[in-house]
């Protein structure tokens, strides 16, 4: 997956055993890049031998370079000139935890770019690659959009190795495998596939690796760059690959037999396969008492139907099926609608759009603007619009219920919004029949979706009690003896590593 021409160029580069000429060569390669730093060093015992340290400013940890590389080199007292070889330097002098001798130009250039130091020495065409990586990154903090009241609060950061350590700390077993890959012909972004060797569904793993090899892109700044290439249903609004910012969620999914993909540079980690019910599961479900957790789960499932269906049903009832409404309700709705200039369907679309705007601006605006937004949202759009008879009060209630329940299920946000408008459109033509046809279409679509060969609705038609335990009801932990059958070939949860 390399860019052919640049690779060709790198292969042409041949370093010599002269530090001077190598410096010239590197300066030529990194022309116009002033962050590349050359530090010439001499050992006072043998001043005739030239050393040069090459690194990119900002990518290395200066303290490490000073104390583990320059200081030992300058302090070293070789007995004779011959004992000063690259091999002795690597094994006896350098204090870095990783020291490699390398002559391949491609690898040397990659090492420089990734924050390592290169030590060149007169008389050797091989260089020492010293691990001095040290760039600043964000500290571990709680992810803003996956907050919990109880449970671990740490979240992934943008640094790959930190993220992997977070996962490793949750699952301390050599069974946890981490395979590196890299994506992006220009960005050369590192990624890591994590799975539990004895638990994972091998078909899913093989499928994932095959898909990852099937495309090429120049840069991958976020996991979504990959998701859109490898997911099963590129045109569906529903997710077939899960994503999260929390290590505890990733660890739980790995334990259930899923595969995780961690990409450098983004705090979002992919998990697959991703079933539809996972949209409604929260990590908190497993940290709280199971009665309360099950209630929350059912509430979220209900929220999906409310959020997609309420505007459509309200429209159907008030414009097609007046007889279903109790007389008192008919009375209050039609009184509220007196003098409203728009038909109900236009009113609904307008108010839903306004709500989406409010939500979107709430998500993007700087923190201190919150008060202004709530005043605009509640007073201007809510109260004033009703008083001015531009929209009816029941419609505000409908939109509010729709919006609030939509916020309960952030994982299916996009699909919910789309579905809401489709159902509204259907209901405006056919009333409740339209809503029914819409839901029918939705079901047909959902039951057609797969995630890495596993139907995403497979949890809904689970036949055994063990398969039902984590769908609408979160069963107590002592009851969850087995992993979901469709996810892992190794079903028993307590299985020791050797048991197959």
């Amino acid at each position: 997956m390399g860019n052919e021409s640049s690779k060709q160029k790198n292969e042409d580069i041949v370093f010599t055993d002269s530090v001077r000429s190598n410096m010239e060569l590197l300066k030529q390669i990194f022309k116009n890049d002033e962050t590349l730093t050359f530090r010439e060093i001499e050992n006072p015992m043998v001043p005739s031998v030239e050393f040069c340290l090459v690194y990119i400013d900002g990518m290395v940890n200066n303290k490490l370079v000073n104390e583990d590389v320059i200081k030992p080199l300058v302090d070293y007292k070789p007995e004779q000139r011959e004992s000063l070889t690259l091999d002795i330097l690597a094994k006896q002098v350098m204090l870095s935890n990783s020291v490699e001798q390398e002559s391949d130009a491609e690898k040397i250039l990659q090492a420089i770019i990734y924050g390592d130091c290169i030590l060149m020495m007169d008389g050797f065409s091989k260089f020492l690659i010293l691990n001095t990586k040290g760039w600043s990154s964000r500290s571990i903090s709680e992810p803003e959009n996956e907050k919990v009241l109880r449970g671990p609060r740490e979240g992934f950061t943008e640094a790959l190795m930190t993220n992997l350590s977070l996962i490793r700390r949750k699952i301390r077993t050599p069974d946890l495998k981490m395979e590196f890959e890299s994506f992006g012909t220009r960005s050369n972004t590192k990624a890591c596939i994590c799975y539990l060797e004895n638990v994972v569904n091998k078909d899913v793993l093989a499928d994932l690796k095959k898909r990852l090899e099937s495309f090429s892109i120049d840069g991958t700044l976020d996991v979504n760059y990959l998701t859109e290439f490898i997911n099963d249903a590129p045109y569906s609004p529903f997710k077939t690959i899960g994503s999260t910012e929390k290590p505890d969620i990733v660890a739980a999914k790995l334990l259930e037999g899923r595969v995780a993909l961690v990409l450098d540079g983004t705090p979002v980690v992919l998990t697959m396969p991703f079933l539809f019910i996972e949209n409604f599961q929260s990590d908190e479900d497993y940290f709280l008492n199971y009665y309360f957790a099950s209630f929350g789960r059912m509430l979220r499932l209900l929220a999906f139907f409310v959020s997609t269906g309420v505007p459509a049903i309200y429209l159907a009832l008030t414009t097609f099926h007046h007889e279903i409404l109790p007389l008192a309700m008919t009375m209050s709705i039609s009184q509220a609608r007196q003098g409203v200039p728009f038909p109900t369907v236009v009113e609904a679309v307008l108010m839903l759009l306004v709500f989406e705007m409010l939500r979107e601006s709430g998500a993007r605006m700087p923190g201190m603007m919150g008060q202004a937004l709530s005043i605009v949202g509640a007073l201007v759009i809510g109260q004033a619009a009703v008083q001015a008879k531009i929209v009816s009060a029941p419609m505000i209630i409908v939109v509010a219920v729709t919006g609030i329940s939509g916020l309960m299920i952030p994982r299916v946000k996009g699909a919910t919004i789309l579905l809401r408008f489709i159902l509204l459109g259907m209901a405006s033509i056919l009333g409740l029949y339209g809503y029914m046809y819409g839901m029918l279409g939705l079901l047909i679509h959902l039951f057609n979706l797969n995630s890495f060969g596993i139907p995403i609705m497979s949890s809904t038609y689970a036949s055994t009690l063990q398969d039902k335990k984590d769908i609408t009801v979160r069963a107590p932990w002592w009851f969850m003896k087995k992993r979901p059958k469709y996810l892992s070939p190794n079903e028993t949860r307590e299985a020791s590593r050797s048991r197959k």
């Binding site: 008030t318 414009t319 097609f320 099926h321 007046h322 007889e323 109790p326 007389l327 008192a328 008919t330 009375m331 709705i333 039609s334 009184q335 609608r337 007196q338 409203v340 038909p343 109900t344 405006s428 033509i429 056919l430 009333g431 409740l432 029949y433 046809y437």
Partner: protein, 380 residues
């Protein structure tokens, strides 16, 4: 083949959109919801005069307005409303149809055809008979506790069956069944305006009795209760018993009542046996004697039995002789238990019914004396 299959699926999907019934997009505020309407004899040459009560949306408060139209058929009169109202009348929440006694005595079946046949009115609405001169004037009354007179009527009817049991509650489909049924006659609740010292109000007056589909008379509230006893429709209500000659009364509140009727065939002659089992609570005792002992209560029970038996027998006799209309459904009982006998006797049932022997036995049980142990006695 494959395109044919696809075309077939496409056709099915498209037809799905066109084959369902609900096309009618109507904004809710463009409709005038009718809560009930009254049918009277027509004025200026028309056959019917209709008074609609519909939801008034012009004021902030919930309220109603009346609209009056004339027409030669009921539907004609309903349609004529359009020339007076910009909003289309909507009958899906119609609760009550009031029919004047004048029209009812000419035959009620033609009046019920429209509401039964049309899609909008529900078959669960309540037809009622006005004991006043016209049915329209009932709707002109001010509702006392509700915003709409028809909603109030509907509530009164519900409350009456639950707690008073002095008027029958008959829905449209039940009325149709009674009209068309073998050996049964139609009866409907009747309504009148009650004069009070304060503003007049509505009152459920009892039962309207029909022979075939023609109104022949009314039963008062006590007779209506007897009718409900026979029809096994008592769900509550009171029994007033005088246990001795003094005339002071004890009030029993009915908790539960069950009536079993069966026809008995002896020598090709049929008699009807009515067994009433009623459980009551002693709810009020105004007598000077104390009936709180077990023996005392037994005495009250016996008096209540006698009273019920004679009352119900009396009511049956009144209906048999005065109205000659089998509203009790004795004929249909005979039909159900011996269809062959019914087929034979059916043409003569009209003659048999007035002289039909009915025996009533009542069994009133007093379950408790509410929360008081004994009556209040004045100290010495």
């Amino acid at each position: 083949m494959k395109t044919g299959k696809r075309l077939c699926v496409l056709l099915l999907i498209v037809s799905m959109f066109f084959l369902n019934g609900c096309w009618n997009y109507r904004e809710i505020e463009t409709l005038a919801m009718v809560s009930g309407f009254a049918i009277d004899k027509g004025t200026d040459g028309h056959k019917y005069h209709l008074t609609f009560e519909f939801l008034d949306l012009t004021s902030e408060n919930m309220g109603s307005k009346l609209l009056e139209t004339d027409g030669d058929t009921v539907f004609d009169a309903v349609r004529n409303a359009i020339s007076k109202s910009q909003k289309k009348l909507m009958f899906s929440d119609c609760k009550i149809i009031l029919i004047s006694k004048e029209l009812a005595s000419e035959g009620i079946a033609p009046l019920l055809d429209f509401v039964t046949r049309d899609t909008e009115p529900r078959i669960t609405l309540h037809p009622m008979i006005s004991e006043e001169k016209t049915a329209g004037e009932i709707l002109q009354q001010k509702p006392l506790t509700d915003h709409l007179i028809c909603l109030e009527l509907n509530q009164i009817l519900d409350q009456n069956t639950a707690n008073l049991a002095e008027a029958p509650k008959i829905r449209l489909y039940q009325a149709n069944n009674l009209l068309e049924g073998q050996g049964s006659s139609l009866f409907l609740p009747s309504i009148k305006i009650a004069k009070q010292k304060a503003a007049s109000t509505l009152e459920l007056a009892g039962t309207a009795v029909f022979k075939q589909d023609k109104l022949v008379g009314f039963l008062d509230r006590n007779q209506s209760k007897d009718l409900l006893f026979i029809k096994n429709q008592i769900k509550g209500g009171l029994l007033l018993v005088s246990p001795d000659a003094s005339g002071q009364k004890i009030t029993l509140e009915i908790k539960e009542s069950k009536t079993e009727i069966k026809p008995v065939f002896v020598n090709q002659l049929v008699t009807i046996q009515i067994n009433i089992k009623t459980a009551c609570a002693l709810a009020e005792d105004e007598t000077s004697k104390s009936y709180d002992t077990l023996e005392g209560l037994k005495k009250v029970e016996e008096r209540a039995n006698k009273m019920l038996e004679s009352d119900i027998t009396g009511t049956i006799q009144t209906v048999q002789t005065k109205y000659d209309s089998d509203i009790f459904g004795f004929g249909s009982l005979v039909y159900q238990s011996d269809p062959q006998y019914w087929e034979k006797e059916k043409p003569k049932w009209g003659e048999l019914f007035p002289t039909l022997k009915v025996s009533v036995t009542a069994d009133v049980k007093i379950l408790n004396t509410a929360v008081a142990k004994s009556t209040i006695k004045a100290g010495e």
